[in-house]
Symmetry: C2
Subunit: 308 residues, 2 copies
């Protein structure tokens, strides 16, 4: 029997977020949460993370209600959950971090439950690359591995990150990080350099400007962003993208150049829905029909053909 | 006999430009020049502008060699040609203007030669909106009118610009200008407001992030930018876009929602070629085959389809 589950390792958090459209305090968040829920629309998910005793049980119940195996989420007795506080202003393309309380996340060391170790599809969300390597050592049967990262690791743990890149098939990375990692301003040339470091697919996330995927020397796919009339809260957009991408791909079991294009569109679809509400608000009411509808809208808005 | 000519009114300039890739001094430039040459790959062009006695005859000869009727370019005896000097740094998304010598352009008042006045396709490049209105009064048979503008006119001549917008079918505008004109940060909502001001098609140019076209309340088309590995000089990209767009559309004579998508792609194609060299360098050696090849590449890089 084929195993279409996606293994996701990353942060589980409580987020305090303020945007021009409102504010939430200690709401459910974290890269592993956004990506797991996004993936769960397509396929079963196994999540690995850590929380403190303050983490509301209702959040774990919510995840468990969504085809997400949560036994990989460890609860540290007496510990406090990772807490991030930030705000977005203006065009909301950049988060202003006000507070990062790592708490139990500081000593996070991912140990995979035995039945997670046969996972074929793996997403290493944004955590210390040394931990990402540790996860990779525990998934010998992985067929497709993707990772995310951030500016902090590029500057502080570049060697470990380069080790990770050698061992993944796909990297999700934003345009600023592409430039930081390579020292090359031109995104197309920079992405080509990253390809040489290991990943077969380099997926550059550009927020409101969509996403571009590079395969080898050149671009293979450019996706528009979905034209929302209102963004409530951008938190988790990149993680939702990665989760939708991996969840879709795992559900089909087909890792071809053409199907990876679909994965980009499903990733964009999940990201676009996620930002329409705070925290996991939109995902809690989102349906598969709405996902498919937006996928089809993506098809329409990029379509053109030569005149007959 | 149908007249597929495009009438273009705007600046003819000598540009001094410095980028990380080199420098040119008093090279051929100006919005009317870039857009006319771009359009001339598809259809005959009639250009209206003004130059000084210092304007090299070879430039006029070059334009005349490209299906461009230049009798609308007036030479002012003893006058000096509009001279712009600027530089680009880093990601080259923004020009740093060092010098703007309007010279003869300061008293430019477009008077159309008699045989220009029956033009069906009109592009009003970025000039004082009062002059754009003056041109509109001289083209009673216009079937499709497009305009460009800039931040300077939005702040200094907003009322005239609003008059222009009432009378055009298409506006080419960048994302910063969209926000400035409407006071709305969200581009999709802002574009919808601009649509209400008159233009049926609002084409938002986003530079390296492509272009998005809004028709009425919602988006109708999103185009990726062509992934160049090297941008030599971004000067004239927007004008090349507009020229390619209008030239293609006029050449086919079909102004339909679907064919306007092709116009966006041909506009992007011409813009992407233009920035590969300084001044009109690339256009001087560009062939129709290369244009069609890039159009087809655009089709490939945005293509995706559901799995069978």
């Amino acid at each position: 029997m084929s195993d279409n589950s996606v293994l996701i390792v990353g942060s589980v958090a409580l987020d305090t977020v303020e945007t021009p459209h409102g504010k939430v305090e200690r709401a459910l968040g974290g890269a592993a949460v956004y990506s797991s829920v996004a993936a769960s629309f397509f396929t079963p998910v196994r999540v690995v993370g850590v929380v403190g005793e303050d983490f509301p049980k209702e959040h774990l119940d919510f995840l468990a209600s969504r085809k997400i195996d949560t036994k990989g989420i460890q609860t540290i007795p007496g510990g406090k959950t990772f807490h991030w506080a930030g705000s977005y202003e203006g065009d909301m393309n950049q988060a202003n971090t006000k507070l990062t309380e790592l708490n139990v996340f500081q000593s996070f060391s991912p140990e995979l439950p035995q039945d997670y170790r046969t996972s074929k599809y793996v997403f290493l969300a944004n955590i210390d690359p040394e931990l990402q390597l540790k996860v990779l050592d525990q998934v010998p049967d992985a067929k497709l591995v993707a990772c995310d990262t951030m500016n902090f690791w590029i500057s502080s743990k570049k060697d470990s990150l380069l080790e990770v890149l050698k061992r993944v098939d796909i990297v999700f990375i934003n345009d600023a990080e592409v430039r930081q990692l390579t020292g090359i301003v031109n995104i197309t040339r920079a992405a080509s350099e990253i390809h040489k470091l290991g990943p077969k697919y380099v997926v550059v996330k550009k927020g409101e400007h969509g996403a571009v995927m590079y395969c080898g020397e050149s671009i293979c796919f450019a996706a528009a962003s979905y034209p929302l009339t209102e963004v409530a809260d951008p938190t988790g957009a990149g993680d939702s993208f990665a989760g939708g991408f991996m969840g879709y791909l795992a559900s089909t079991g087909e890792v071809s150049d053409m199907n990876i294009r679909n994965a980009v569109i499903y990733g964009s679809t999940l990201a676009s829905y996620n930002v329409q509400d705070f925290s996991l608000g939109m995902f809690k009411r989102l349906t598969k029909d709405q996902i498919n509808q937006r996928y089809n809208e993506f098809r329409q808005i990029v379509h053109f053909e030569p005149m007959a």
